[in-house]
């Protein structure tokens, strides 16, 4: 359980990091918190030739609250973002990410780039229509969440690119959010999970409701669920639950069958939508 040898790079600033990454190309891998990368290296599931350690790039250890949302830099650790309470749904999700000690090292942007289909943060970015900023020495580009997650553990990050920040838009006024999941053990990846955003109109009737589901597809599954324009407390979510179950395509494994996951995601969607609707009032 020791990682294979690699060529180590410890750039001191962003420019140097981008130069090193450009040189390493497809043989390079970025090391941020390492809470996913180092385990898979220890298990020899990954053996990057060049490891580009960005832990000295303090310029990326940022959390900026703007009028429209929160921009989280690539070196901002889970625990810090959680403490700042910068975004309600991000906070709800971060409390479900592994354990406090892991969150002291793991980074928000790292979780997004790792793109585990059962991870919480990709779902948050997806349900909010957020984006990830990717940089090369030649410039930057913003990739919307819907284009960013391309498959299990696969993202739109190209060889030589560094994900420098992620943008989580604020929810609209009169919105509530919730995150529900079921895991075998506290802190494990969830069997299934749902985050929900419910927005009310000026008369406090449900205007729109949206969920992103984890553990039930190759990427976070976003569903704009059908909802009746009625006061939040009187809305029945049966149709929403049906829509979520139809939209998801879970796989079975030793932890849970596909049928169980599909059942579970509906139950969690109903719970998350109800909680988000209550929070919106």
């Amino acid at each position: 359980m020791k990682p294979p040898p690699f060529e180590y790079h410890a750039p001191r600033d962003l420019g140097e990091a981008l130069d090193v990454l450009a040189g390493a190309g497809a043989r390079g891998k970025v090391l941020a918190g390492g809470q996913s990368l180092i385990p898979i290296m220890n298990m020899r599931l990954a053996s990057p030739e060049h490891l580009v350690d960005i832990n000295r790039l303090h310029e990326l250890d940022t959390v900026e609250e703007t009028a429209g949302g929160v921009r989280v830099g690539a070196l901002a650790r889970h625990s810090r973002v959680e403490r700042l309470r910068a975004h309600p749904l991000l906070g709800q999700a971060l409390r479900l990410v592994a354990h406090p000690v892991i969150r002291n090292r793991g980074t928000v942007v790292g979780s997004l780039v790792h793109a585990d289909p059962a991870a919480e943060l990709p779902a948050v970015l997806a349900v909010l229509d957020g984006s990830v900023r990717l940089a090369t020495a030649g410039g930057t580009r913003d990739v919307a969440a819907r284009d960013f997650f391309t498959g299990p553990l696969e993202s739109a990050v190209q060889a030589g690119e560094l994900a420098v920040s992620a943008y989580f838009p604020n929810t609209r006024p009169r919105s509530g959010t919730a995150f529900r999941e079921v895991a075998r053990r506290h802190g494990d990846y969830a069997l299934a999970g749902v985050c929900a955003v419910v927005t009310l109109d000026e008369d406090l009737r449900v205007e729109r409701a949206r969920v992103a589901c984890i553990g039930v597809g190759a990427v976070p599954v976003v569903v704009d669920v059908p909802c009746e324009r009625r006061p939040a407390a009187t809305v029945g979510w049966d149709e929403a639950v049906r829509a979520v179950r139809e939209a998801t395509d879970p796989e079975g494994d030793i932890h849970a069958s596909a049928a169980y996951r599909r059942h579970l995601v509906g139950v969690l969607a109903e719970q998350a939508l109800k909680e988000a609707a209550r929070a919106a009032v």
């Binding site: 359980m1 020791k2 180092i38 350690d53 354990h99 406090p100 002291n104």
Partner: protein, 159 residues
Amino acid sequence: MQPYEVTLVVNGTARRVRVPARRLLSDCLRHDLGLTGTHVGCEHGVCGCCTVLLDGEPVRSCLTFAVTVDGREITTVEGLAGEDGMSPVQRAFAECHGLQCGFCTPGFLCTVTALLRDNPAPTDEEVLEGVSGNLCRCTGYQNIVKSVHRAAELIAEEG
């Protein structure tokens, strides 16, 4: 793949080591520095035995490369006791039978030391959340939770 010169401030003392980049902090502490109090269980971040304090914050030393933390301060279980003997957290674990075989104990002690510094009077729920990343396979968690509350009392009494 040349070795790297790394300086770690371990338990208050600057230590210089030459390690390959792939050296895990856990192995650096144990093999290169001879500090075998930090235990290694799963080596993929699940068991929590290897937890040490990095600039005061608990982290998994098996999920950290020594080269990444060059120049930083590390506290291991060997650094928890003061000149007057065991720390309040260590005494509480002994008093409340918070350990049996002791394999997981260094990780618990480091985690709980930071937990009580940040939250001097945690609720049961906060204790459980705080130690949720540390596995114990023999004592069970009842006495560990008791130990954490007892340690909080000792720290409060002793100022």
